[in-house]
């Protein structure tokens, strides 16, 4: 009888402790998105499985894969007078895996988007990749600027490209990035046939410290006999 009572007490205590575990997990979950916003990233099932299997090692693996990607993109081999395409093709799956493992790996998103658009001529996929990167890293200049470029140069969606270029200009953290965003913005305006807005944007370039001369050269080229060059 006493043994039964002791067992019951033990079971009760264990159940109470388990309830504490569940309760504190609820408390932790309330703060989890602040600490690790990867919790809100809409991963595919494949990505969830890969991430789960790798546990806490996934960040490190993403870094090591990036080393490989870095090597591929900087040491592109030339065979028969042309770039070795097998290196390029090996790069994209690595980039995809890196972004699964670490959705805040902005460099991987930027590189993947750029390669899809420029090397593989797949602008729609590039935009999908950029947009995924922007969704996971909303204030990252490189991604917004890259997307703006693809919208403008490849998809010819000037309105969307302009909106993205304007967002890139506000997300720019240094003068060079700010200049590049404004430069793209002006060129999108010109593609839309809005030379006045392009001129205004080049004037805005002059307000960036150290870019006064660049601004006047750009304005001269826009207004002068060679202004047509800027449409190309």
């Amino acid at each position: 009888m006493l043994a039964h009572a002791a067992r019951f007490r033990t079971a009760l205590a264990l159940a109470a402790l388990l309830a504490c575990v569940a309760g504190t997990q609820i408390l932790v979950d309330q703060y989890r998105p602040i600490v690790n916003d990867e919790a809100d990233v809409p991963f595919t099932v494949a990505a969830v499985v890969v991430r789960s299997f790798l546990g806490q090692v996934r960040g490190l693996l993403a870094d090591f894969l990036w080393l490989r990607v870095d090597e591929y993109q900087h040491r592109r081999r030339i065979v028969g007078g042309d770039l070795l395409r097998s290196d390029d093709e090996a790069l994209m799956p690595l980039v995809r895996l890196i972004t699964w493992l670490n959705p805040h790996f902005v460099e991987a998103y930027a590189l993947g988007g750029q390669w899809l658009a420029f090397h593989f001529a797949r602008p729609n996929e590039a935009i999908a990749f950029y947009e995924e990167g922007i969704h996971n890293n909303p204030r990252q200049y490189d991604l917004i600027y890259g997307a703006a470029w693809v919208y403008w140069a490849f998809l010819h969606q000037n309105e969307t490209a302009l909106a993205a270029a304007q967002r890139a200009a506000t997300a720019a953290e240094d003068d060079l990035s700010h200049f590049r965003a404004l430069w793209l913005q002006a060129h999108i305006y010109m593609s839309m046939g809005n030379r006045a807005a392009a001129l205004q944007t080049f004037r805005e370039v002059g307000r960036i410290p150290g870019y006064e001369r660049t601004s006047s050269v750009l304005i001269q080229r826009l207004l002068g006999p060679h202004g047509g060059e800027l449409h190309q």
Binding site: V21, A22, S52
Partner: protein
């Protein structure tokens, strides 16, 4: 002054950890890996800093986990296998004191083991790597909580199994704690059954969740881990450790030696 049996056992565990050489070698190896990663160079500026923090935190986690497993599996199960448990239990010590002492000694030894690795991380953040030193220390504290929970789980399992089984089952619990995210996602996708989804939810809330102790993203991307999060995670670790230690003590009490 008569020391509490819990602390006597804890001190003995720490002495044993130093004497066995496994722990110091692991610490040296971990420190060497972190130090070597600090001198890797990349083509892109800014990647080095992220890489260094990533490597340091992952190395602390990996080496801490291995050290915890080695320490705990050689404790209770080791004592039973080598039959030194008879000698210990013949002394005026209660079984719960023995288990609690082993746990205390293990988590203190682990804290001492990871301290040099954390010191290297903080040092490089201070000198030239950038970021917040406090956030790195917070991340290390949360990792230490993870090791404490892992120790409690291993001790709970060790109370009824051999050292090899203890090691294997503890690793299994660790892997399952990460895999359960995949399982719950999969269940939510493939079935609309409320019973199955409730089971998935129950699994999420009741099984240990080591992801709670992972603040790598915050440290690497220079975000602040709120103090409230640290407090809540500490409570979570306390509840989990208490559950497994209590379970372990109850099983150990029932065993006959």
């Amino acid at each position: 002054m008569i020391a509490s049996p819990v602390f006597v056992v804890a001190r003995q565990v720490m002495k044993e950890a130093g004497r066995r050489r496994t722990l110091p070698v692991l610490v040296l190896f971990g420190c060497a890996v972190i130090l070597s990663s600090a001198f890797l160079s990349f083509f892109q500026l800014g990647v080095e800093v992220k890489f260094f923090k990533d490597v340091a935190i992952t190395v602390i986690f990996l080496f801490g986990t291995v050290a915890t497993l080695i320490l705990v599996t050689t404790q209770l199960s080791g004592e039973i296998e080598s039959r030194t448990i008879y000698n210990i239990l013949s002394k005026p010590i209660r079984r719960w004191e023995l288990v609690t002492g082993k746990f205390t000694g293990t988590i203190l030894a682990i804290a001492l083991a990871v301290a040099p690795m954390v010191a290297i991380l903080v040092f490089f953040i201070y000198t030239d790597r950038g970021g917040s030193m406090l956030e790195a220390v917070k991340a290390a504290y949360l990792l230490w909580l993870a090791f404490a929970v892992l120790s409690a789980i291993a001790l709970g399992i060790a109370s009824f199994s051999s050292s090899v089984v203890t090691g294997a089952l503890t690793v299994l619990v660790l892997v399952v704690s990460y895999l359960k995210a995949a399982v719950t996602t999969y269940l939510a996708l493939v079935t609309q059954s409320p019973v199955v989804n409730s089971l998935g939810q129950a699994m999420y809330y009741l099984l240990p969740n080591f992801e709670n102790f992972n603040t790598r993203t915050a440290v690497v991307h220079d975000r602040i881990v709120p103090w409230a999060y640290l407090g809540r995670t500490s409570l979570y670790a306390l509840a989990l450790a208490a559950f497994f230690l209590y379970l372990g003590v109850q099983i150990f009490e029932e065993r006959e030696f």
